[in-house]
Structure formats: C-alpha cells, structure tokens
Amino acid sequence: MEEIREAILDFVEREYKLPDDIDQDSYDYVENGYVDSMGLVQFVAILEDQFDIEFTKDELLSSEFRTIGGLEKMISSKIAG
C-alpha cells in the first residue's frame, strides 16, 4: 500500500504540496486542481504502467478514483486481482 500511495502522491504533488490540514484519504485531488483534465491522461498511463493494471472507463469516472484513499484502494484491489 505504501508504494501505491507514494506513486499517487509523487504525481499529485508534482507542482504543489498538498495542504497539511487535510484528511488525505478523502481528499479530492481533481476537485482541488492538483491534477487537471490534461494531467489525468498522463496520471492514468503512469499508474497503469507502474502497477501493470488497467482502469475501465467507469472506474475513471467514479468518485473513488478522484480521492487519494479511494484510488489507493482501487489500485490495491486490482493488483490483488
């Protein structure tokens, strides 16, 4: 799990550090502009490549994908198969 979170944060915090006073698990990094619609394409490709997984269209549109905790869980369950 740690490696997954690190990969997510590496990208999300590429330009701006996340605020300290947030609940990272439920933090919506899309809504808060840390990854925009252009960055998302790159973000998805990096995650799919790094963890050898594939996201479905529905998964990419889900609210789970947009939070750090939700995305971490999603990746982890994909890896577990």
């Binding site: 915090e13 925009d36 252009m38 394409v41 973000f43 998805v44 990096i46 799919e48």
Partner: protein, 516 residues
Amino acid sequence: MKRSLLADLFYQNAEATPAKKAIWCDGKSASYKEMADLISRYSNLLLSLGASYGDHIAIPMNNSIESVALFFSAADLGLCVVPLNPSLPFEAIKVAMLAGDIKHLIARKAFLSECERSGGIKIDGFTICLDKEFPGAVPFAKINEMPSTRPEPQHDVDGSESLILTMTSGSTGTPKPIDISQQNKYDRSMAHIRVYSITTDDYILAATPLYHSLAERLVILPLILGATSILMPRFTPALWLKCAEEQKPTFTIAVSAQLAQILELLKQEDAPEINSFRCIVSSSALLEASVKYELIDLLKCEFHEMYGASEVSTVTDICFQDAPDKQKSVGKPFDEAEIKILRDESETDFDTVCLTGEVGEIAVKSKLQCKGYYKQEAMMKAAMFEDYFRTGDLGYLDEDGYLYFAGRKKEIIITGAINVYPHDIDQIIGRLPEVEECAAFSYPDSRLGEVVALAVVAREDQEINLRSLKAYCAKNLADFQQPHKIFIVDSLPKNTMGKLQRMAILDHVRAAGLDE
C-alpha cells in the same frame, strides 16, 4: 544609477499604501509592506549567492506569492527569469534551459531529485531548493536571514533588459523563447490599464499558470499600479467560483476554455452569486455566442473579447455591450497596434494585402511586440512580413476596421489555451521502433476546446501495443501534449506531393470508422 521602472513603481506603491493588500494566493495574503519585504529579501538572497546583472534564472514555476516576488526581484537587479512548465518531461526542460542560457536554478526538491535521476543538468551558478533541503542546493528558507531593505543598485537597469523568457515550444523541437524586456512589460501593462480603465481599486484575478505571459501580465500590472492581485494557485471551475465569491475580484482576463467550464457550474442551482466583477475579458480562442450571453446574464458585468499572441501582446479588443452589431468580431486594434491581412504568398499577384472582407493571415505591427525570440533571430525574421509579425492565424477586417478570426494557418493544437506543436509530438512518438509514421492532430473537446489526438501507422510485421504507447507518452511528453485519443491507422492522409494533411486526419479516422 538608473533603476528598474517596474521595481521603482512597486516600491513607490509600498511606500504610499503599506497596509493595502498587494496579493492573495492560495489562502495567504501579503500587504504591500510585506510584499516589499519579501521582494527585498529575495533580491538580497540572490545577490548573496552571486547573482549579477544579466544572469538568467530558470524556475519550474508554480503560482505562488514567492514566484511573483521573484519577477520583481529580477526586475530590480536586472536579471532574467525563465519560467518553465513543471510538467514538462526532463528532456524538454533540458532543451529549454539550454535555449534560455540558464545560469542559476530555483526548483522544488522533487524536480532536483528527478534531475539527478535523469543524469543532471549543468548549472554554473547557484541552485535554490524551494522546499526542504537538497544536497548542493541552498534552502529557500535562507531568505528569512536576509535583510528586508531594498538592496542598493549594483548596475544601471534601463528597461531594455530581458525580464522574462517565455518558452513557447514544449518539447524537443527548437524552443522559441519569447524575450520580454522590462520596458515591454511596462508598456503592455499601461496599455491594458488604459483600455480596461483599471484603477487602484481593482482586484485583478489571474487564473492561468505563471509560466505563460497572460498570468505574468495579470500579476505585474496590479503591483505596479497599486491595485490588488488575486492569484489562483490552480484552476478548476469550482475553485474559480470559490475564489470569486471570497476574494471578490473586479477584473480578469480568462481563457475561453475556462469560461465555458465556469458557466456550466454557474448555471447549477446551488451556484454562488458572483457579483463583484465590473469587467471580464475572454482570450485565446473564440467563445461560443451562447456561452458569452449566458455569462453576461449571470455575471452582470462588462464583457470583452480580445485577440492577441504572446509575441505582440493584446492586439484587438471588443466590448460586446458597446458593439451589438459586431458580435462575431474580436474587435478593433489597440492604439499601439496595426493589422494587415496578408494573402497567401503562392496566390500573390502583386498586392500582398487582402481587400476588406477577404480572409488572409493576420499580421500585426505593435509597439508592444517582444524583443524577439532569444538567440533565434532567424526564426523571428521568418515570422515577420516587413515589420509585421505573422501570427499564423487567419482572419479578415470589415469596412469599419473590426477584425474577425477565421481559423489557423499554422498547424497548432490549442488545448485549454496552451499551444501544442504537433510536430514535437510526432518527433517523440516517431522514435519508437514499431512506429512507421505518426501524426498528432486536433480533436474537438467540450471542456478544453481541443485535445491532442494521435494517428499511428505500425511498421510492417510489427504491432503497436496501446498500453505501452500510452506509458511512453506519459513519460516523454508534457501533460498538455498527452494524446487523449490514439488511433492505429493503415496510412495517414497526404496530398499528391506526399505532404501530410494534418487537418484531414480527423475525417480520415472517422471515415475508417475508428472514432466511435
């Protein structure tokens, strides 16, 4: 000694209105006095590390109060800032830094680590690490030990100095560093202050990245005028509305793709009421008429559209409420600018200038024109017709001198107001051994106006793996260059001379039934 006009004006404002809010960004504010202290400390830090007149400093830049302070410190010391898009892949950063004659580097730790992992970048001067510590770099926190008094002038600063080099090409293609002098920044600010009647009472919102000229103008202008700058760290339509509701900006120049997204949210039932704006200007691409009217209705303010290019700044402007019969125009030229519409050279008989109403390439002569492309004189010369800059855009003038935009001549994709050069993408993807040929092209998108799409032809007996191609793009292209759609095709559309017909690719993939 002659001192920087931009810095002088700022310090005069700080002297006159020390307690006034100078800037807000990401929940933090600084008064003019606090901003003056920060700028002075920043200048003293740069001087203590050995920065000297004319040096170039690269910075993968995010939107922050410190980034704005750097512009003013650089102006005061006669330095040149080279703001870079932090999302650029390392190779592109390296090319941009080389093109910008970089001596010093200011960056975040993540960037410096990435540099180290990728083989390093040669920096002759100092390196500052903005967050935390990094071996060989001076921590930015050292700024707190610096005096907050404006340093004594070290060298004449007469305004002709390059203040900012804006990189326009994102990848390995030769970058075109647009060279903007201090005087040029001042002239551009003054022209906008006049045209939009901006006063010290205005709260000016900048919601685009600071490594583009639009946001640079929107933060420098209020601080030399004595107004207030509202700088959004990142853009989403929801953040924009929240910022507008809380910070009550009165003026902004937004890119049209942003305005279209903002309207979507504004129309929702629970949308906040935004009533602080007195004037909004839309830039970068034509805004759909329906979006324009709905925005005017909801925001109840003066609504303008402008046309311009980073090289020549704003060229034309129109206020829609004042010109009801010119709703499709992008307006009349600023006093500083003159427009010529040029006929395609191949069709030229003897007169190269189009008649009224005839579509041709928009060329602009402007007192606001940049110094040129830094150390790329030939490239700038090629972009000129006599003393007019060829914009690469198509348009025409009506009998009253109003300009109408009619498309683009240059092969360029504009996604969310960022110019993407498809050739840069072709070059990178073309390096893959399984690719016979490829071409990036514009694909319509409701949010961003256009996005990048890619058509790829595989080499004989080779297969293209979509997932590894996407991963390759993610690693080797900047975020704005990422293909949102990839089509594997048997061939690319070409003319009889074998020249790629980029504008025809979308029809080509649709005809092949691939775009579903």
